[in-house]
């Protein structure tokens, strides 16, 4: 019924339309970091419910081990957040180690981590609520 020429034009315009639509689809790259526990634990920390700092640390420690086993990176701030929890429970060696690890993995954090290391006494006192 339709000539070959018309079919060809129709096909081209429809293809163009399809490309126009799919051009809006975003490519989902593989995530750079392991996000299993971090956000939920940060929220738990802020909510200040019954979950103790030690329980929060246990969850974060477990996630850390799992990420290491899988060869996955931990998010920015993850180790420093653990450091905060260590400071609040008086575990000052682990606090320092956590911040040093944060610096090592994320040199952009150096200035802030050094600020915290120099002022840890305040963090320790404040954390003990």
């Amino acid at each position: 019924m339709f000539s070959t020429k018309i079919k060809k034009i129709a096909l081209l315009t429809l293809t163009a339309a399809c490309l126009g639509l799919t051009g809006c689809a975003t490519q989902k790259a593989a995530p750079m970091y392991n996000w299993d526990s971090y956000e939920a634990e940060v929220y738990t920390y802020f909510k200040g419910d019954d979950t103790s700092a030690q329980e929060q640390l246990a969850t974060l420690e477990k996630n850390l081990q799992e990420a290491e086993q899988k060869g996955q990176e931990l998010p920015p701030g993850y180790r420093a957040h653990m450091g905060l929890l260590y400071a609040s429970t008086g575990q000052m060696d682990q606090f320092k180690q956590a911040l040093e690890a944060e610096k090592q993995h994320f040199p952009e954090s150096t200035s802030f981590m050094n600020f915290l290391l120099n002022n840890f006494a305040k963090l320790q006192n404040e954390g003990q609520k």
């Binding site: 163009a16 920015p76 701030g77």
Partner: protein
Amino acid sequence: MMRAIQVKTIAALAAAFTLVGCATTQQPEFDYTAYKESNPKSILVLPPTNESPEVIATYGVLSQVTHPLAEAGYYVLPVAVVDEVFKQNGLTHPNEMHDAPTAKLQEIFGADAALFINITQYGTSYKVVDSATEVSVEGTLIDLHTGQKLWSGSARASSAENRGQSSGLGILIAALANQIIDTASDRGFDIAGIATWRMLSPTKKNGILYGPRSSQYEATP
């Protein structure tokens, strides 16, 4: 004659589909000059100010900003630690934190840029036709060295987006049930996550740029 009309119709329809498929509101292109010149590697996210009646809104949003920013290629300062440092410096309320001088923020936190977020909506409200949990956020990115604004954007998410339509009394009952379920299950947190992702997506029009850690980062020559 008929053939010509048919071809034109197909072409017109195709063009219409192409436009509709990429539907966005007519927004002017954002001027990224300052943003590219600043080229921030690290971002300090301040606890968001909150216009909603939900006290937890600030922390519901704050807990979820690291994810999109980090995946976009930025170092994000640990949000809980940042909050703690503000408090120890006598700034307990986000409004006070947002008023801190940028020079002071740069001195303490050592970040290249700071993201100021304001929550305009957060929570579940009962509406006659449907209850929905809604979160609306707006954000501004500031260079901490110069105080210059680099970017601003906003986003909204609602639990009503994917709800099916029923009719009659079913709608009223569903609305009340939804409000109860959403409030009880802290739906605000889930919806806040969606809103935050939308606001901080580098793939949307006028969105943030990819940061240096991202494989899709475009270095300015």
